[in-house]
Symmetry: C2
Subunit: 247 residues, 2 copies
DNA sequence: GTAGTCTGTGTACATCTGTGCACTGAGTTC
DNA sequence: GAACTCAGTGCACAGATGTACACAGACTAC
């Protein structure tokens, strides 16, 4: 009866050499790193391994065992770091949005004219998408994915992102008198454009430079259309939203 | 050794009564329906069951056995209808985009003024999203989901959808002289807005009328901003795209 | 009516999964 | 240096999964 089970684990044990070479905390290191530091290191290894695996599958189909196998630890050790796969997912969202906020800061640090701002923003966006494609892919994939907790966490972060953008826009010359709703609409329109641009880049990716150039150009054109549209919008309706054609 | 396996199947066999009551092709029907018809019927039952299950999970985590269990057939019978779960997924995409095209037709069948067109389009969109929320949810979830084949199939359909919209727009008064790129940009901007609106509706859904009204209003505002933007765009750049601020 | 076709059944099995439990041994604290 | 902590191990197990195979029996074609 037990031979059955030993057999089941054969494939997993066969890769134990690989596991040893990949092991994040070599026994030889001994006193070189503190226990805390090493724990943090395997935690990061779990997150990195998960993110790498998520390149080709969605979170809901990612198993605890896959992650621990890739990270080079035994399945049960997972629980020393996370209660749950869901907790791992939330940690990944945290990490992902940290890089997204870094991007937003990079954009803000570039206060030029409107035209240049769009140009630069798109440039910085594409650069960041390439640099942290794993994070972007993960967020894009799970934004409407199968795990409710992750979906909601991402939704909250995206709304926060749009709000930040709205308050940023409010500070720009010419936007002082805008209503909150209009600013929010514009901001979320821009965020939607940015999101779909990022997703397009991720889909096209892997050395298709022509496609990428077109995506960039489309994104710029769209953002310009939006700014032109909102300018027109304000001059057409000086105080509030227009009566929707009499409806 | 074998007792182990019989035990494993216990839970599945316990629900066999349910399966019998749900059985799509009752033996008693006999000559009432042709064999072909009945085959088509279980095929549809598989697709419906899958779509229902996909409300709460992503396709990559949906198992063949779950689907057959819900459809009321034995796992191995699945292969009489599809080679593969992937084929089921592609069939679902086909079905989903048939309803989407029906929606587009409904919008086109409403040739009123620009303002009214936006108002009506959003109305029709939300109505369709509610009516076929399963299809919309599935497409939204798998558009950037874990299964490459589905992702690509959906991408192709969405591009087709945007192209159709672009040619539609080209026929409207005032758009005759537009370049293909500008029309495509505008169309995909609109599609992106529509998509994110549909996704917002799906997320908010379940009787939150206030949120839904706001989503509608935001969608209308955004679409109007876009049309205003492109109008401005054309008058600002009579022949081609403007030089991007000297870049 | 007989022979053939084909959808659905039932059993088997290898493989995967999450997680409980007792353990080891290096790192830390006193 | 003795006592304690705790990240990582190893084994066990129950349950789920995809799919091969032989079979049943209702529909179909002759």
């Amino acid at each position: 009866m037990y031979t059955d089970y030993t057999c089941r684990y054969l494939s997993e044990h066969l890769s134990s050499e690989i596991r040893h070479t990949r092991r994040v905390n070599s026994r030889a290191l001994s006193h070189e790193f503190s226990r805390q530091e090493r724990k943090q290191r395997t935690r990061q290894a779990l997150m990195d391994s998960a993110l790498a695996l998520l390149e080709n599958q969605s979170f809901s189909s990612l198993s605890l065992r896959q992650v621990t196998r890739a990270a080079g630890i035994v399945p049960t050790a997972f629980y020393r770091h996370f209660d749950d796969m869901e907790q791992l997912g939330l940690a990944l969202i945290d990490e992902s949005f940290r890089t997204l906020r870094a991007m937003a800061r990079a954009v803000r640090a570039d206060p030029r004219t409107n035209e240049r701002m769009i140009h630069n923003s798109v440039e910085i966006l594409i650069e960041h998408v390439h640099q942290h494609d794993n994070h972007f892919r993960f967020v894009a994939r799970e934004r409407f994915g199968g795990v409710a907790a992750l979906r909601h966490a991402i939704g909250a972060e995206v709304r926060l992102f749009a709000s930040d953008l709205a308050t940023d826009l409010a500070r720009l010359p010419g936007f002082e008198s805008w209503t909150t709703e209009d600013l929010q609409s514009m901001a979320s329109l821009m965020v939607a454009t940015v999101v779909s641009t990022a997703e397009a880049i991720l889909e096209a990716s892997s050395a298709d430079l022509a496609a990428e150039a077109e995506i960039k150009e489309t994104a710029r054109r769209q953002l310009r259309m939006i700014t032109l549209g909102v300018a027109q919008w304000r001059s057409a309706t000086p105080t509030a939203a227009p009566a929707d054609g009499g409806a």
